[in-house]
Symmetry: C2
């Protein structure tokens, strides 16, 4: 019952179509709108930003999630976040959903919405409607359509992010197995510090699963994946993860804890982790992916706090950019994580796939091999391993370096 | 009973001397050690970093503070932080205090220590001792000696920071008043996010005051001053504020709450605030001081969290550097501060001493005057005012913009 990586993203699962178009919302001459459509009604699960200032589409999706009714479509635009837009923003959500519902012959309450971009401006409703018409009439179940959708939702992202897996589950009725598919796309590069960033992630699956089980497994999967990445410490107003399950795989529906729910949960976490790491590595201006693995913490929650503190430190990020092994900064970031530990007991390493350097042990920064450290810092991915020697709590967090380009991109984002 | 700004820093108060020298700890051809000496035994108060990884001199000073015994001297070096140095670091502290004690004819337990610089390396004891000898033999009560000391403790600081005030208190015995002096110096530019950075601050006063009252007023003064600034969100291993009171002013000793303690507390807060704002404005690479004032929060603590969230946001900092009034980012930072509020109720302004722009009201980012906003962002100081419309909680936080130079300085700090 192993999980296999397959091609594609949101159209990898049976029963899902996607489309994208250049609607001119803000960007010129590049696709900036996408649609996902399910041939059958979907149960869905979601997690949203914890920011008090929630974008209008976040409020819209949250209300649909609370209602519990099935959904059929997701409409997403890049360029304008529809956040801090008050009642106008909510009205534009309603109008967008109504527009899509008319075109697709479904109910407005079956249309989820997502936006990413500048906070403050209103969406241009005329361009949005024209975009929705074009999306509705160009849906396709091809893998290419899914890939094009993952490109259309990008803002400062430099690469699109999609991933899909397949695994086998018992067939409905009990004879033999069927293959279930789970795929997704995400975007996110700046304002990334998900607590549940402007991170948008959409997953689709043909798995038959109850709404309650899907939400439980989604909420769990987020903890060690999307919630463990940071680019700049800014938790966006628009963070959204939605998982749509159409049920066309024909598996025995998953409604209780068991082998099937465990396997689906594992697949969900694999897709979320892949998309999350891709976002961290593609952080605005980033030249390195930074992974921090904490072992031996007293609790898992403390391991998470320690790992996030290191990848979130401006000084650690700048040091990785500068390839300067100023390793005391790792110690400093562990120390202000809000977790108690014995500085004399812990051990800290820096490594990549070929080299490992221990730079702190028994309360001292060691006289480590600077050449080896430079070799590690010269690669595209750096891993710090912190063994707290307290217990069995483990966690991994991902971030990126702080570069001149981050400052450039964000000093002049609106233009 | 007003507070008057006077010239000088740590030698502004009667009974205090200072010295500085070029000891070659790490920097070449610039002063990097300083000493403060009190002619009479001082009660003292202190607050230290909350980082779990505490530098050796922080542990040394904390032990002296706990002992309650009076002190006579402070020895400070820049270049090496003596942090993450284990037992060796503590031994070097003991040896430094013993060296200074011999030279000054006092007890080692009357010598406070402070270090700032790179985390990890050991202090070179030979250079340190040679420096202490030179400091001990060149003490002076001149204002210039205090200013030179404030320069010697700088690391990446671009300007020295000192400030002093005077005020009148009832004379001891009850007839007439005497003038009391309070002055101080500080350093700090990066790794600044005091929770009680490598921020070092030393204040001296000739006020007669009990140790308990001095500690109570110092702990209170820190809350709205040093603890309300941030440069990079990294809380250092070495943060130290020490206030030494020698008592030579001849005032009626302050031992209980009253007008005199209130006036001294106000003076203490004024000096701390001035030094704190100077540190925020001189943040590594900074081109703007950013002040955020929160009004109308439900509690003071919530006002503090909101104000600190705005000045700490990488995206707000980059926007100020880029002079791009992408004001939705202020809303976003308020929203993830961890404080609940109604986004539809609040009002947010940007201002300097001449212009004010309201850019958010009734749940909307407004169509504000971009030219006026650019004028504000073109000045050296920008203030954001956030009226939460909930209660009477107020707080102000200070930070600086995120610039190419911050990345440059911290990508290559050790060399």
């Amino acid at each position: 019952m192993s999980i296999r990586i397959i091609e594609g993203g949101v159209t990898a699962a049976r029963g899902f179509q996607a489309a994208s178009c250049d609607a001119g919302i803000k960007y010129r001459s590049r696709p900036d709108m996408a649609m996902i459509f399910s041939d059958s009604p979907c149960v869905f699960a979601g997690t949203f930003t914890s920011n008090v200032v929630k974008a209008a589409p976040v409020l819209w999706d949250r209300d649909l999630l609370r209602s519990g009714a099935p959904v059929r479509a997701v409409v997403i635009n890049a360029g304008i976040a529809n956040a801090a837009t008050g009642e106008t923003g909510l009205r534009l959500c309603r109008e967008s959903a109504e527009c899509a519902a008319r075109d697709l012959g479904i109910d407005p309450s079956a249309v989820l919405l997502g936006s990413t971009g500048v906070i403050g401006p209103n969406l241009p409703m005329d361009r949005l409607s024209a975009g929705i018409h074009r999306l509705s009439s160009s849906l396709s179940s091809s893998l290419e359509a899914g890939t094009a959708a993952s490109r259309a939702i990008m803002t400062t992202d430099t690469v699109n992010k999609e991933f899909a897996v397949a695994f086998d589950l018992p067939a409905a009725g009990g004879s033999g197995t069927v293959t279930v598919h789970l795929g997704g796309m995400s975007k996110g590069s700046g304002m990334i510090h998900p607590n549940m960033s402007t991170m948008l992630a959409y997953l689709t699956t043909d798995c038959a699963i109850s709404r309650e089980m899907l939400q439980r497994l989604t909420s769990a999967a987020v903890q060690d994946t999307f919630n463990m990445i940071t680019v700049d410490g800014d938790t966006s107003t628009n963070d959204t993860l939605l998982v749509l399950a159409g049920g066309e795989a024909g598996n025995e529906p998953i409604t209780v804890e068991g082998e099937a729910s465990a396997l689906f949960g594992e697949a969900l976490e694999a897709v979320c982790r892949h998309l999350a790491i891709r976002m961290a590595g593609d952080g605005e201006g980033a030249s390195h992916l930074i992974e921090t693995r904490v072992l031996g913490a007293d609790t898992k929650e403390h391991a998470r706090l320690l790992a996030k503190s290191v990848v979130g430190s401006s000084l650690v990020k700048a040091m990785v950019f500068g390839r300067d092994a100023n390793c005391g900064r790792i110690l400093c970031a562990l120390g202000y994580a809000g977790v108690d530990f014995d500085p004399a007991a812990i051990e800290v390493f820096m490594e990549d796939s070929r080299n490992q350097v221990c730079f702190y042990r028994e309360g001292h920064v060691l006289d480590f091999d600077e050449e080896k450290a430079l070799a590690i810092l010269s690669g595209p991915e750096v891993r710090f391993v912190c063994d707290m020697k307290m217990g069995s709590g483990e966690a991994t967090a991902w971030g990126c370096d702080l570069t001149y380009d981050y400052v450039k991109i964000n000093g002049d984002y609106r233009t």
